[in-house]
Amino acid sequence: MTTERKKIRLQDISLRTDEPLITVTADDLMPLPPPLDRGEKKAPYSPLSEDQKKSYECSLDGVSALALPKPKSKEEEEKLVERFLRGLQKLLSQNDNWLFWQPLIQSLESCVRCQTCSDACPVYVASGNQEIYRPTFKTEILRRIINKYIKKRGRVLSKLTGDDIELNWPVVARLAELAYRCSLCRRCAQRCPLGSDNGLIGRELRKLFSQEMGIAPKELHDSGTVQQLRVGASTGISSAAFQGMVEFMEDEIEEKWGRRIKIPVDQEGADILLIHNSGEFMSWIENPVAFAIIFEAAGLSWTLSSEIYGYEATNYGTWYDDVQFARIAIKQVEVARKLKVKKMVMGECGHAHKGLIVIADRILLGEMNFPRESFLPLLEDLILHDRLELDPQKNNFPVTLHDPCNVVRLMGIVEPQRRILKKICPQFREMEPHGLENYCCGGGSGFAIMNSMNFKEWRENISSRMKLKQILETFRDVLDPGIRKYVCAPCSNCKGAIRDIISSNDFWEKHSIYYGGLAELVANAMVDMKKPFIEWEWH
């Protein structure tokens, strides 16, 4: 840690400066274990180019998640600040924000400022305790803005409760960016003695910016939810393209399993509609292939859907916009209803679990309140009751488990994945901490797919840093490149984030650290595979 770091005050958020409030340097960062404890330290992120700095807001920390254009005049600034205040009023109104009003108000009011949450936050700790990344930093600023501009309590009471933030465009711009420095992992909420949820506040801030001001990362909105609602998938895959992928899957299955099967698609009346996130088909098609093999081997009655919205489990609205969230969830459930399946089962996608199973619970009524489950209890059932013929010795290499926040801490599905891995992986070892106390991969809340400007660097070197540390510590006795090791991450975005930290540190080349989902490990253990399912080829 640099000894001369300027102390950032809450009021600094209003400062009109061309330079960012802070720039995180290599010396600030949390140290990493061997082999990254030595060697040249690299800066966590490069500054934006001069042109980018002229056009886009980055006065928080020199990073841009939003490509937020600078207003061209004072009038434009004032209009934006007015819209922000209007949005804040709506956020605090039960009428306008009935979906999340209750936990929001309680989180805003019940904080005793003990800062116990800060030590739980991977971004705060890994960045070297940067004040702006403290879970309560943005929340406290918000509280004081509310006290001064919304509650308007009168001079004395206002002063006593804290009203010393001057609301101007720099505050709004910085808060917009700051909302995208929290991965919504909820470690802070879990650690808080009063249950105050700073992650939720970050998420509600994002919602204010999106639903009132139309400000959100392009990857989440234009190329995310808007694309999904127009085309059927957030990756842009059309129904026709999906059907082509299914044929490719059947070829893969024949090559690896030795059997030519017809993957059931659009089968009316099946028990299970399996819904993956479309990123799996694009980047890790071996995962849906593994599911198909497992389901067929177990003789389950299941189907995929090629209908628009039916092959995409993602719902980026979970992270930033309730309206987009509701639109997508309704479309997804409608597909299952029309297909007359008995239940929807989510594949390996963290936020799809939390979004479609838990959050959507509050908007699906009557027949739309359709059974929705995780794949985990189903898979656990198959394996622990020996419905598949498996040979754990085929997985005889070090394996560790990354717990996706949305599935574990935010939903409570903790044990099935561990029971499976303990049965099929003789060298399974836990990360520390794990389970409900796991650390976010750094790619949560959409970070894994936000790659524009210098945000990817920020993610790889700051928000994913804790996970990097955990992986190195977990495999510290087997770092020899002659030993192939597997980080199991049952969530696509987690895989993406982990892939990026492995690749940017050359860990596959130098230490043979690999990564993948859970279904691949199960398929790899099946006795009747013609070829090993896991190919150990970097992608």
Partner: protein, 160 residues
């Protein structure tokens, strides 16, 4: 001692002080006055004698000695006064929030939405409310139910 310790820590520690609004110190004043008054009463007035203290409390509660009721001794009276002020202050402060963590209903309303349930009935009503948010991808003024099921998509860049 604990109370004083926390107050001192809050005043001294830079990280904690920054975030602590002034009004939060008020509760510590109430608590400390009550505790100090109590310590004073027990130590000085009752000479740390438990039987004397219990006798006093019994008399007060049963109105046994009316003279004492009308003209109470200073130390215990002050303590009771401070304690009463503290109790009156509690509902006006954030201290009540402490208890919220024990009630799921109050905290997160964790009850699942089952067909035909009260939650479903309330959600049905809420979906009839108008959406007031005004970004371009939202049809402000229409009901939540309509906005969620209709698709008039505009990207954020189109609106700029």
């Amino acid at each position: 001692m604990g109370g004083a310790g926390i107050l001192i820590k809050r005043l001294i520690d830079e990280d904690l002080k920054v975030y602590y609004p002034t009004i939060h110190y008020l509760k510590w004043i109430f608590i400390l006055l009550t505790l100090i008054g109590g310590a004073f009463a027990v130590d000085i007035h009752f000479h740390s004698s438990m039987p004397a203290l219990l006798k006093y409390v019994r008399e007060q509660v049963t109105f046994a000695d009316f003279e004492h009721k009308l003209h109470p001794a200073l130390a215990p009276a002050l303590h009771v006064l401070f304690a009463a002020a503290w109790l009156i202050y509690i509902p006006f402060s954030h201290v009540m929030q402490l208890f919220f963590r024990y009630y799921h209903q109050l905290r997160w309303d964790d009850v699942p939405n089952v067909r035909g349930s009260e939650v479903e009935r309330r959600v049905r009503e809420l979906l009839e409310r108008p959406v007031t948010w005004s970004a371009s991808h939202i049809q402000s003024g229409k009901r939540w139910r309509e906005v969620a099921s209709e698709l008039q998509q505009t990207s954020l860049t189109e609106s700029k």
